[in-house]
């Protein structure tokens, strides 16, 4: 077994909280620049430029890209030969809490969802743990803003559903999300599994490099078709019109039951933030 100290994991999580919230993902920056070179509408161009300027200012002045520093979602892949000396989620949450505080991020977590009586806090994060083969620990922190998270959807289709209806469902989710979810979007789609795992799959899709297409040709085609349709909705950057409503559509699939076809959509705003570390 390889022992990783709780302190190492704590410090790594703290660093992820800072990095994810201050630095816009490089693939996003690249996609925004490309979109700016294509976009013709004056308002849309100014909105794209503002997003690019925002990323530069956040980096220079160490200010959160967006005031909604999200509900931190942590994906941990822990090797089967790794020994963590303390409960992993506990250590991660301690790192999130102190990392958020140290980086002047927002305390957005309400411990009492129904009564809303608690003072908003930095943590807990939502922590997903996968045990994988090996001797390493990989952690990814995705601060998920709720302007876009509120627009997530899951639909339990019949297994015989026509593919066009799945595309319609995704396009409709994007149309309904509108300006409030902060376009241009990255659209994560999860197809298969169960109701809950499809949702997780859609969220995990947001971690994929935006320039990548699915290795499965039929899934890649669906990604391409949805992107084309979404960019004809006319929502545009920040809802100001134009052709740039989404920058990428990323779909992931998983084995499912013969009786079902769960499809989940998880939208990310243009402030797509995630950071990873492997220990």
């Amino acid at each position: 077994m390889r022992k990783i100290s709780a302190h190492t994991i704590y410090e790594a999580t703290k660093a992820l909280a800072y990095k994810a919230n201050i630095y816009l993902r490089p693939d996003m920056v690249r996609a925004l620049r490309q979109a700016l070179s294509r976009e013709r509408s004056g308002k849309a161009r100014r909105a794209l430029q503002a997003i690019i300027d925002n990323a530069a200012k956040a980096r220079q002045e160490k200010i959160a890209l967006c005031q909604d520093t999200g509900l931190p979602v942590v994906f941990a892949e822990i090797g089967h030969e790794v020994l963590c000396e303390q409960p992993l989620a506990e250590v991660i949450n301690a790192g999130v809490m102190d990392g958020y505080r140290a980086a002047y991020l927002r305390a957005s977590i309400q411990a009492d969802p129904l009564g809303r009586t608690a003072k908003p806090a930095y943590a807990p994060a939502v922590v997903h743990v996968d045990i994988v083969r090996g001797r390493r620990l990989k952690m990814t922190l995705l601060p998920k803003g709720f302007g876009s998270e509120n627009k997530a959807r899951v639909m339990m289709f019949n297994p015989t559903v026509e593919q066009k209806l799945i595309e319609d469902f995704v396009v409709e989710a994007v149309r309904a999300a509108g300006a409030a979810a902060c376009p241009p979007f990255i659209i994560g789609i999860g197809i298969g599994g169960t109701q809950d795992s499809a949702g997780l799959l859609a969220k995990k899709a947001l971690l994929r490099d935006m320039r990548s297409a699915s290795p499965k040709p039929d899934v890649a085609l669906l990604e391409k078709r949805v992107l084309e349709r979404v960019n004809k909705l006319g929502i545009g950057p920040m809802g100001l019109g134009g052709h740039t409503t989404a920058l990428a559509v990323l779909a992931q699939t998983a084995p499912t039951h013969i009786a079902g076809m769960p499809v989940a959509v998880n939208i990310s705003c243009h402030a797509l933030r995630s950071a990873s570390v492997t220990i």
Binding site: K57, Y104, R106, P120, G239
Partner: protein, 179 residues
């Protein structure tokens, strides 16, 4: 691009001169308020109690900022989704609020209330909280400090960039998707 200058506090005359789609540089005061602050203000109005802030002629900015780094007036401070405040906005407009700044579409009820009470709804650069931070010159907690980021902050801003999304006639900005 022609950016119109607008100074606070708002007047009916200034509001009437603005058309949906206009890009505006606003200087003056804005009060932040989001979900819980709206709920509390609405409860106080319904109970006939005095509000902690005089909102007449003021702009409500739907925003919950991050804490300020030392030496800064405020942290990241972009707009939050307007739709969640739709249930409260007509009541606040009726009680003197004149402007709203947020992101996203509004309900038909809010649009009606805007025309009825000479209001106006602006959007600003959403997801650009670091950029917008540069337009805020000072901030102080004006009410409900126990709400943290959801407290009401009084912001003094200079040339804060806005786009008119619903003007006083109830006309929508052309590119705003309608429900």
């Amino acid at each position: 691009m022609i950016m119109k200058k607008l100074d606070g506090p708002l007047t009916d005359k200034a509001i009437i001169s603005l058309r949906s789609g206009d890009e505006v540089a606003y200087s003056g005061v804005m009060y932040t308020a989001r979900d819980q602050a709206h709920k509390r203000l609405a409860d106080l109005i319904k109970k006939g109690k005095k509000l902690p802030v005089d909102l007449r002629g003021q702009i409500m900015y739907y925003c919950g900022p991050t804490p300020a780094r030392p030496g800064n007036a405020i942290g990241s401070c972009g707009p939050t989704t307007a739709g969640r405040m739709d249930a409260f906005a007509p009541l606040l407009l009726k009680h003197g609020v004149q402007g709203m700044v947020a992101k996203g579409e509004r309900s038909n009820e809010v649009r009606k209330a805007i025309t009825q009470y000479h209001g106006i709804y602006f959007v600003t650069y959403a997801g650009c909280g670091a950029l917008l931070q540069g337009f805020v010159k000072s901030s102080r907690v004006a009410a409900f400090p126990e709400l943290g980021a959801e407290a009401i902050y009084e912001l003094r801003v200079e040339n804060f960039p806005l786009v008119v999304a619903i003007d006083a006639r109830g006309k929508l900005m052309k590119t705003t998707a309608e429900e």
